[in-house]
Amino acid sequence: MDQLGINLPGLIAQLVNFTLLFLILRAFLWPRVVGMLDERTRRIRESMDRATELQQQATQAQQEFEAQIQQARQEAQEIVARALQTAERVKADAEGDARKQADAIIERARAEIQMERDRAIADLRREFADVTILAAERVINQSLDKQRHVALIEEVLAESGRLKSTSHG
């Protein structure tokens, strides 16, 4: 044993030294570093979980947001459509009113014209009758009595009236 260098004091010394190293490492290195490694693993897992969660939330939020935008767009389109419709209706109404008014004005104007014409015709007829009587008096020189006269004129007038209405009508 001596030749191989094995001796009890040397063995014990080396064992004590190694035990000391083991205790030092067990006291200082292993728990702290392994604890740190575990802590880091835990943190990383946690933060990754949180990141996944956040991502999900973000995705969800984006989906909601997009849905809202979609809705808003739809609403806006509806509003625009409605406004267009209203405008169309208003325009149509305005057009109808204007036409009606114009029609009314034209109608009135036509009625007035008619009335003026009627009156003018009546005036003309009266004057014409007077003129005719006058003329006839002059021509006939009162050969006829007044009654016959008027009748004659009426007849003539009726005839001329019929004549006029045929030419008119």
Partner: protein
Amino acid sequence: MGKTIAIVVIVLAIMVVSAMVIPAPKMPVILPAEPVFAIGPFIVYNTFIAAVLVTLVWLVISLLATRNMQLIPTGFQNFVEAIVEFLLNAAEEVAGKKDGRRFFPFAATIFLFIITANWMSLLPGFLTIGKAIEHHGDLPYITMVQPFAGGPWIVPLGGRLPEPKEETHAAVHDESAAKLTERAAAEPVPPGTPVKREFIPFLRGANTDLNMTIGLGLMAFLFIEYWGISSLGFFTYSSKFINFKEGPIGFFLGIVELITEFARIVSFGFRLFGNLFAGEVLLGVIVFLIPLLAVLPFMGLELFVGFIQAAVFAMLVLVFGATAVAEHGHGSESHGEHAEDGRQVAPAHH
């Protein structure tokens, strides 16, 4: 291409010239560790100094690395954490998640101690700085005559013993011994005793000492038995070895198992010692043959051997530990698991 050839030629030239010019120290093969000094009755060996250095190195590293730990590691802390993580993963892989954690502190300490001691022993200064002593053929630490005779020696490149001048070389034990006895005559040593000169390096790789390696083997043995007993209970655990239930063959196998258990101390200790000591001798022989440069590739080899031995020691501790805490059988369980893993991976490739 021409550059490479030029480099090769220069290297070869340096090697050849150094072999002719530099008087290389001869490498004696000395199994026991050399004593350097004594504190009272306690003798301090050079391997013990190296082992204490390893402890100090790791004490300093532990304190530095854990002094101000950050969650986001930088520099040195990162380095130490990477080592610990590598060891922890390896332990969990070999011995399983739960047992790996349990065995980790001891196995990792073994690994770090062995690899640090091995690699440290390749540093300059190991085996090359020391003192020459003169003694009378007895073990030097018993009759240490002139502790610092000849002063401290510095021997180039891994050699150990600076022989006296060439002409006295052959006669060191008889003729020159007579000269040396004159000097030693002042000491209370019977005159006429032949005097031997020996070079005692201050530092020598811790694992080239059987005390160290067998101590480690003993330590591993104790831890493995402790793990087994503490997790199975004394009687369940010892029933692995003293087994009456399975007939005479079972009993015999149990006894063989028990012997194997103790033989582990020897195989642990001598495996480490043999590899490291052989490496030391190898480097010494290479330096003796070619003093310059030729030793470099062998240093690389020794780096590799140092790592492999540390890994093998730690891995065997883990595997034996896993076997010890396993419920039944003789410990083929953990191997079986691994082999099965291998087989499971294998067909997937085809």
